[in-house]
């Protein structure tokens, strides 16, 4: 033990001092709410800041790209998590399935959010919407309407770009396809889509637009808000958006594939009332405007104007498919992607 004990002790003390000085101060007048979030920190933090200003409740955050449900589950009864903010209905259902959520009874939430974007049992509430659509080359794609089914048409051979088929947004779209057409047809469709890809799936939705500008492909699959972010907020990517147009693609017998960002109340939330306050506040007018104008999402609250860029895509006709049907086909979609070797 004596080995290097003294310099080590000094070192440890120094480190502890650094950690202590940067450790967050937890005392705040309105108390705390602990949020685990998949929403990008940069997008969600401004919203939390306004919340804290209005309510005096401090928002403590862990943001990550993955694994938060499992973490909350493992942390068990002592978990500090109050609210989990998550994107993608599949993930939302995973949280419920893992038993890390609890029911919320809130008239505010029930009245504000349309029934299809919340859980009847109150385990999850949608706070904003996005759809997964087509980015098409302005130059090379004359048509202004397209169905998801059409993406497997051989006429697009070597002309489509997309990110990994296992990425949650593609996963949800494929799951929706299974819900519409069944697994066998979905497999045929995925094979067709795979055969039409210009390159191995990679990158993100933004890169899809870039590859269209570069002439590598004519069509790409992307979320509605990425295109708007590139056009309005990311100067160096503006040309990527400008080279493409957004087509609100639909299922042949349905509408545009929708997905949600949602909030759930953690099962062992230590600050339950603050957590519900935050959830209610997130669907309030201020936060919904921020979701619409800063993040370019579709608001869940009626009467909030859609951002002009998003509105310019055309009139959205949301797919009537129940979100739960998407979630329940999520694993099947992941299996199909492996089976047809979509990412290989």
């Amino acid at each position: 033990m004596s080995i290097c004990a003294r310099p080590l002790a000094k070192l440890a003390l120094a480190g502890a001092a650094i950690v202590a000085t940067v450790a967050p101060v937890f005392a705040q007048t309105g108390g705390n709410v602990n949020v685990y979030t998949y929403r990008e920190r940069g997008l969600i933090q401004p919203i939390f800041d306004v919340f804290t200003k209005e309510t005096g409740i401090k928002v403590n955050v862990i943001s990550a790209g993955s694994g938060l449900e499992q973490r909350i589950k493992t942390e068990g009864a002592n978990s500090p998590a109050d609210v989990l903010l998550t994107v993608d209905i599949g993930r939302v259902q995973d949280a419920v399935r893992l038993g890390i959520t609890q029911q919320v009874k809130s008239d505010v939430l029930d009245k504000t959010i349309q029934p299809q974007y919340r859980d009847p049992a109150g385990h999850w509430y949608g706070i904003s919407l996005r759809s997964r659509v087509i980015y098409a080359s302005k130059e090379r794609v004359p048509q202004n309407a397209i169905t998801y089914e059409e993406l497997a048409d051989p006429k697009w051979k070597g002309k489509i770009c997309t990110r990994s088929g296992q990425y949650i947004y593609n996963n949800a779209l494929f799951a929706a396809f299974i819900a519409h057409h069944g697994e066998a047809k979905a497999e045929q469709w995925l094979k067709g889509l795979k055969a039409n890809l210009a390159q191995r799936p990679s990158g993100g939705d933004r890169e899809t637009a870039r590859d269209i500008l570069a002439g590598k492909c004519d069509l790409g699959i992307g979320n509605t808000y990425y295109w708007a972010l590139m056009l309005n907020k990311e100067a160096d990517r503006k040309p990527w958006a400008e080279a493409t147009k957004v087509i609100l693609s639909t299922f042949k017998d349905g509408g545009t594939h929708m997905n949600i960002a949602a909030a759930v109340l953690a099962r062992y939330a230590p600050n339950k009332s603050n957590a519900i306050k935050l959830m209610e506040w997130l669907v309030g007018e201020t936060a919904q405007h921020m979701h619409a104008d800063a993040n370019f999402e579709y608001p869940v609250r009626a009467g909030i104007a859609i951002n002009p860029t998003i509105a310019s895509y055309g009139t959205l006709k949301p797919d009537p498919l129940a979100l739960s049907a998407i979630a329940s086909n999520k694993a099947a979609a992941a299996n199909l992607v492996d089976k047809v070797g979509f990412d290989n």
């Binding site: 940069g42 870039r210 492996d338």
Partner: protein
């Protein structure tokens, strides 16, 4: 066998006992996440496993093996080639190049991946210039290699990680290989014959160790392969966990990955066989005269050594600096960055201190107690380095919570309030992960450090009546100082760069520089994190320079268990 005669007082025994206990602790720490993972993996996953085995595992294995093979080949050629060149020849710029060659190590691999995608994509400077020169109108008019590919991943990973091989090989070329080479040269052997018949065979054990480190790091990578679209085993573990919500399936794949790790370690051991002839003569072993290369040959040598430095370090650094300037990141300085930098440094310092304490104590126990069991514990303690960060975090979560629940139960038993998640909900979780992952470095350095101290010193000291305490203070500690410094610097840098485990385990309101960059990266805006990336690299350069100077890396690796 007992090392301490009857004259040793009882508190000396407490001390040796404590080091022994620490050696056992090291083994327990390292084995915990693996056991936890296996427990998760043996759960029944229905027909998921058959699906994974049929569709996921073959593809993932194939890509992982190809990535490893490509990286192994490239890093061997680059690392051994450059090390041999700077050790054997004299050519313009050689001195500076010996300093520059190890520096790519200061980069986290994923950052270099982002840089090269930006540089080489259709709108990057390279292709734009190409189009302007040749007159092509769009990227569809010509073929250009895609960085987002297996080849791209091999390129990026190799140019970041070759320094492990370089440092190991160079340490060898400088020392005992040099003496034999000298003799062979006197007898008229050509440089090429020298290389094939003397230098390379002698350097093989060192190269094997360096290569093993490279391949373990490659397996650990998730950021680069994800961004470059290579479906490796690590990525498949993630996809299984996330898209099927199956931690069990992920754990099963992770166990498979541990098999690969075991295989790599076995290969390394095989590569290091018959290392007994490797005796390190510390001083005066440098090649007394290098062969002078003049004219074109000198130029070729300079160029050959410059290319890895350029691709692995200078170009990425230039890119980051440019982004910092263009984006005004210094002017519009994000003040949170100071907090994150302090958090990162604090975590790294605490973890480094603990790792050093455990690693050096455990190796001391190995020397003082001379028990097979202790040696085995020290060996087991080293395996943490082979556990990829993601897998480590997955396996670590549950045991941490169990300990916390135990503490809670105790607290309630004595009538106190619940203590919450003391470990799992605090920085302690991150620190434990760092300690497990980087313990092997401390153990390796400690063994190398102690190996240099002749056992006769111990005996003489003992005869003069010194106990382990006095021995440690007056002999071992001063003589092991370079090893302690080398280890602490390397561990510190690795802590700074660590991403996957930190991401999964960090507490509320906590970001490190690596997670800060990652947030921008997931948003497709990694350039906004350029300043943070530069800080990581800048801090990393210092230790790497230090290690280069002492060339302790090579010796530490030769003595790794």
């Amino acid at each position: 066998m007992e090392r301490w005669p009857t004259r040793t007082s009882s508190n000396q025994w407490v001390l040796t006992g404590a080091t022994g206990a620490i050696a056992v602790l090291a083994a327990v720490l390292a084995i915990t996440p693996i056991v936890s993972l296996i427990v998760i993996a043996i759960a029944n996953t229905g027909d998921l496993w058959s699906h994974l085995a049929r569709y996921v595992l073959p593809v993932a294995m194939l890509h992982t093996v190809m990535l490893l093979a490509g990286v192994a080949a490239a890093t061997t050629v680059i690392g051994v080639g450059t090390a041999w060149a700077v050790s054997t020849f004299e050519f313009p710029g050689r001195r500076i190049l010996t300093w520059l060659l190890p520096l790519p190590l200061s980069f986290p691999t994923y950052i270099v991946a982002y840089v090269y995608v930006d540089l080489l994509d259709a709108f990057g400077p390279v292709q734009s210039a190409l189009r302007a020169i040749v007159g092509w109108r769009s990227a569809a008019d010509y073929w250009f290699p895609n960085v987002r590919s297996l080849g791209g991943a091999i390129f990026v990973v190799s140019f970041v990680l070759y320094p492990y091989v370089y440092l190991a090989a160079r340490a060898m070329f400088q020392t005992q290989a040099a003496q034999l080479a000298e003799a062979a040269r006197v007898l008229g052997a050509s440089p090429w014959r020298l290389a094939y018949e003397i230098t390379l065979p002698l350097a093989r054990p060192a190269i094997a160790v360096g290569l093993a480190l490279v391949l373990l790091e490659t397996l650990n990578d998730i950021g680069a392969s994800e961004y470059l679209g290579v479906p490796t085993l690590t990525l498949s573990i993630f996809a299984t966990w996330l898209n099927r919500g199956s931690l069990e399936g992920a754990a099963q794949l992770a166990c498979f990955m541990l098999l690969i790790v075991a295989l790599l370690i076995a290969l390394e051991r095989y590569g290091r066989r018959r290392r007994a002839f490797v005796a390190l003569t510390h001083q005066g072993a440098r090649l007394s005269s290098r062969i002078s290369l003049r004219g074109a040959m000198g130029f070729v040598a300079t160029l050959a050594c410059l290319v890895p430095v350029l691709l692995g370090f200078l170009i990425p650094i230039g890119f980051l600096v440019r982004e910092v300037i263009v984006r005004g990141l210094l002017i519009g300085f994000d003040t949170d960055l100071v907090r994150h930098a302090l958090t990162t440094a604090g975590l790294a310092v605490v973890a480094t201190a603990i790792v050093l304490l455990i690693g050096f104590s455990a190796v001391a126990a190995q020397r003082y107690l001379r028990k097979q069991a202790i040696a085995a514990c020290v060996n087991v303690g080293s395996i943490g380095y082979a556990i990829p960060g993601t897998v480590l975090a997955l396996g670590l979560m549950s045991p941490l919570v169990w300990v916390d629940e135990g503490i809670n139960a105790l607290a309630r038993l004595v009538g106190g309030p619940g203590t919450g998640l003391l470990l799992a909900g605090s920085m302690a979780a991150v620190i434990v992960a760092y300690v497990i992952r980087f313990l092997a470095i401390a153990i390796g350095f400690a063994q190398a450090g102690f190996a240099r101290i002749a056992i006769e010193f111990d005996d003489v000291a003992r005869m003069l009546g010194a106990g382990p305490n006095a021995l440690a203070r007056t002999i071992h500690l001063p003589l092991a100082r370079p090893a302690i410094w080398g280890a602490s610097l390397l561990i510190f840098v690795d802590c700074l760069k660590e991403l996957p485990a930190t991401l999964l385990l960090r507490p509320l309101n906590t970001e490190t520089l690596a997670t800060y960059i990652y947030q921008f990266a997931t948003r497709g805006n990694f350039e906004e994190g350029s300043l943070a990336a530069l800080i990581i690299v800048a801090v990393g350069i210092v230790p790497i320079m230090y290690i280069t100077r002492r060339a302790t890396l090579g010796s530490m690796m030769r003595n790794r268990p």
